[in-house]
């Protein structure tokens, strides 16, 4: 018994000393280090967390004329007022094109995070348009995650010009006024400063001027943005047509996104004077080489219609 007791006391004292020693050791470390241990523990927990989607590939839902990979957020209404003025080469007598303007007024709405719809009316051939944009793949920030974002954009539009004078016996149907656009938007945000996008596009014209011209135009667009500062970015967009309607040019646009509080202003120089895809991709009438450059702008103002769930009960100012 007397022999065993010291042994037990020794064991007990080892247990007693150990925490004291551990504490001592810990005290020597920097306080931040102690924090690191706990942070590691958190990171372990966070490892179970899901993916993080890349955000702000573009500042707004348009690159310049065409759509970007960005959607209007869920529950948000985006009111658009877009202008394209006349050709700069009109000179002083047309106030460098500012005497004439094509206008587009539109409303975009985000139904969910991945689905948005929109309607618009624009001056060029009095066109009404409805579209939907759906996110299919989303780029993630996680290592080994999805490298690209892919969206589908589809639009149907109708021009509302007076019916043309036709030979007797020929009828002009409503369907002759319609255009269809199918587009894939494939984008990657390479870093904070650079995002690039490819836009394979199919446009169907129900009516074309001559039988020799195609009803279906296929084009590939390339677009991108270079961020100049937190609030300003330089955008560019070019659409190459693999087949074409007679007398039109490929559209090339350079734009500047400027963001102030609740607005994004997009200022641009482009050879397209219309703002719907069927018109600016397939039916651009001006040529950069010939000085056929239009100044234009897009103004976007957003309104929160449905609050995120975290704010359902809050009564802060709605607008």
């Amino acid at each position: 018994m007397m022999r065993i007791l010291p042994a037990i006391l020794l064991t007990a004292s080892v247990f007693a000393i150990q925490p004291a020693y551990a504490q001592d050791n810990k005290a020597k470390k920097e306080q931040a280090d102690e924090g690191e241990d706990l942070l590691d523990m958190l990171d372990e927990e966070n490892g179970k967390k899901g993916k993080e989607y890349t955000t702000a590939t573009f500042k707004t839902s348009r690159v310049v004329n065409g759509h970007s990979i960005e959607n209007t957020a869920a529950g948000v209404l985006d009111f658009k007022v877009n202008h394209r003025f006349g050709e700069l080469k009109g000179g002083a007598s047309t106030f460098f094109g500012l005497d004439n303007a094509n206008t587009l007024i539109g409303f975009d709405y985000g139904i969910t995070d991945w689905l948005m719809i929109g309607i618009s009316r624009s001056t060029y051939q009095k066109e009404f348009l409805g579209f939907t944009k759906v996110k299919i793949l989303r780029q993630t920030d996680n290592k080994g995650g999805m490298p690209l974002s892919v969206s589908y954009y589809g639009a149907i539009s109708a021009q509302a010009m007076p019916a043309p004078v036709l030979p007797p016996g020929a009828e002009f149907h409503f369907s002759n006024r319609l255009f269809y656009v199918n587009q894939l938007l494939i984008a990657r945000k390479f870093n904070k400063w650079l995002s690039l996008q490819l836009m394979p596009t199919h446009i169907h014209y129900n009516l074309v001027p001559t039988t020799a011209e195609p009803n279906d135009v296929i084009a590939l667009g390339v677009g991108g943005r270079l961020k100049l500062s937190n609030r300003v970015s330089l955008n560019a967009e070019y659409y190459y047509r693999f087949n074409e309607l007679n007398g039109y040019f490929n559209s090339l646009s350079l734009g500047l996104d400027i963001e102030t509080g609740g607005h994004v202003f997009q200022l641009m120089l482009t050879n397209a004077n219309a703002m719907t895809e069927r018109a600016f991709i397939g039916q651009t009438t001006s040529d950069w080489a010939d000085g056929g450059i239009h100044f234009g702008f897009n103004i976007s103002r957003v309104f929160t219609i449905v609050k995120p769930k975290e704010f359902k009960s809050s009564n802060t100012n709605k607008w």
Binding site: M1, I4, L5, I8, L9, T11, A12, F15, A16, P19, K26, Q31, A32, E34, G35, E36, D37, L38, L39, M41, L42, E45, N46, K49, E52, T55, A56, A73, A74, G75, V76, G110, N191, K192, N230, R231, E259, T260, G261, G262, V302, T304, K307, P308, E310, F311, S314, T316, N317
Partner: protein, 181 residues
């Protein structure tokens, strides 16, 4: 003899049992900016926190992108322009509840405590002292705190144009339920 062995063993276990960690990754951290022009509120329900109930070591971590705003555009601006969340994805606090001994984790109750440590926001680290409460209920410890943060202190640049819409001092509220692990 047997009794002594039991006591020795028991004391060893008792030590092991007392080093408890409380943890959450669904903590709630919100902030509120109030000016005559506009009130801005953001909520983060994915804050991570670990508290060592023995030493009082406390760590809080929030992903900047997880702050939700009422207005989506504001959330984008918050990330893109003010917090630069690509560059500084997280804000955290590493420190200690200095008077952790006041808290009896074995007994339900509410205890006023003070924590000191380092707060890192927007890549800038500052020494801070923050009062708060620990509420013990069964296996849960709820941390509550309210404190002010000046964006200027953390080199968060606010342009003149929106100066009157963003408060000079932003009130941060912490309300996180930590579970014993």
């Amino acid at each position: 003899m047997k009794r002594i062995v039991m006591v020795a063993l028991f004391s060893a276990f008792a030590y092991g049992a007392s080093a408890q960690k409380y943890i959450t990754r669904t903590g709630k951290v919100s902030f509120f900016s109030s000016t005559p022009v506009e009130n801005i509120q953001a909520v983060n329900n994915e804050a991570g926190a670990v508290l060592d109930s023995k030493t009082g070591d406390l760590v809080f971590q929030t992903a900047i992108k997880s702050f939700k705003f009422e207005k989506a555009l504001m959330q984008e601006h918050f990330n893109e322009n003010y917090m630069e969340s690509d560059k500084y994805p997280k804000a955290d606090f590493k420190g200690k509840i200095t008077d952790i001994s006041k808290v009896n984790f074995a007994k339900d109750g509410k205890y006023d405590v003070v924590s000191t440590g380092k707060m890192t926001i927007h890549g800038v680290t500052k020494d801070v002292t923050i009062p708060g409460t620990v509420t013990v209920k069964g296996n849960q410890a709820t941390l509550n705190s309210k404190f002010k943060v000046k964006p200027q202190d953390y080199k968060i640049n606010i342009p003149k144009l929106v100066e009157n819409k963003i408060a000079k001092e932003i009130e941060v509220t912490v309300n996180s339920i930590l579970e014993k692990k």
